[in-house]
Symmetry: C2
Subunit: 227 residues, 2 copies
């Protein structure tokens, strides 16, 4: 594998450039008092359903918007638009992750300064997105009850790059004999102290605790910037 | 993103090198009359459970073995070993796909020539594995009923790189209101004529049709090489 070291070196340059853009984005979000949340997970873990529910529940009281990344379709933007929140699709082609520059481009022309929350749904992938900072305040890693309890152990990098874990599709937990204690232990093994929420976007169970957490974090951000 | 073209160029070299090794592997498998099946899917689609069932059902009449790729753990090899078939784990570190050279290395010291079927379970990822030929005769793309019917449209490259689609976790189809017709239409939209099997590794439903298909393909291979 003689080409490997050179590949890694070029990747490092791409990442460094990404970090510069991400830092600028973060400063801009901070100055505008926008709390930015990104979502990563494997394909089919329920990111879009969870985000649609999040937008719908927050929208009556907060100004929310979403960017959604996908390889090929605009399906997710169409689904999220049902929440009535402003949504933009980022199509990545064959690229398995979003990059900060894509977020920057997608925001051009948007009155982002008027938002309270901006959500960024990454491409469905448990590997590629882990190294790309998008300037977010909080990164959520989603894991559905149907995926198996061992995922944190098998994809430790993405769990380490995230701040909070969200266990989705809890309405199916009993049917698939989901072992929440095992998942909690596996999350703690990979990322000690990591907080998690267990939710069902379908029934709404657990959504309140998670939303209160987001709202508290927005409050902290506002306090920090106004001091 | 000025670094992008250079990154693509280096990737091309890595791919070219991979193709050379994959071609040599394929010639070797052909000469030894081994039918090689690789499995790709998103994390948690049920590759390991499906493969364990496949190995267990084939083993009484055929000589089978498996290689299984994962970023970090050897859990899958441990699970697959329950089938009593020889299994080797390939740990990829941070790499989101298997490469032909990893397969070649993993086979060193194995009496591969005595096998009828070799299965290669790729890292759980719907993007990265698509461009890497592993020398296999048949590539299966797995899609579980809990992932949503739109996955073929959202990950067209991996569906195009695969030969046959396997819909897994059919025992959950009713619970999640899975729309098989919609998935079939989406598969056909992306890869017209693609064959699919709908199975449950848990109940065994649909496994027989899929195994008969594999056995017929092994028969064709033996016929081709002995003529």
């Amino acid at each position: 594998m003689s080409a490997q070291p050179r590949l890694l070196e070029v990747r490092k340059n791409v990442l460094k450039q990404n970090d510069v853009i991400a830092r600028a984005l973060r400063e801009r979000f901070r100055a505008q008092e926008i709390f930015v949340v990104s979502l990563v997970s494997s394909p089919g873990a329920g990111k879009t359903a969870f985000l649609e529910r999040t937008l719908t529940l927050l929208r009556p009281q907060y100004r929310v918007a979403a960017l959604v990344g996908d390889l090929a379709t605009e399906n997710d933007a169409v689904r999220l638009a049902r929440s009535q929140a402003p949504v933009k699709q980022i199509t990545t082609g064959t690229l398995c992750h979003l990059e900060a520059a894509m977020v920057e481009n997608a925001l051009a022309g948007w009155e982002v300064g008027e938002l309270d929350f901006l959500f960024i749904e990454n491409v469905g992938n448990l590997v590629c997105p882990s190294s790309y900072d998008l300037g977010e305040d909080l990164r959520l890693v989603l894991l559905s009850v149907t995926e198996g309890e061992d995922k944190p152990l098998k994809y430790p990098t993405i769990f380490n790059s995230a701040d909070v874990a969200v266990i989705t599709k809890m309405d199916l937990a009993e049917t698939v004999e989901f072992d929440e204690e095992a998942v909690k232990a596996n999350i703690q093994a990979v990322r000690p102290g990591m907080r998690h929420f267990a939710v069902s976007a379908k029934t709404g169970a657990g959504m309140n605790g998670y939303l209160q957490f987001l709202i508290a974090r927005l409050g902290e951000l506002m306090q920090r910037t106004t001091v």
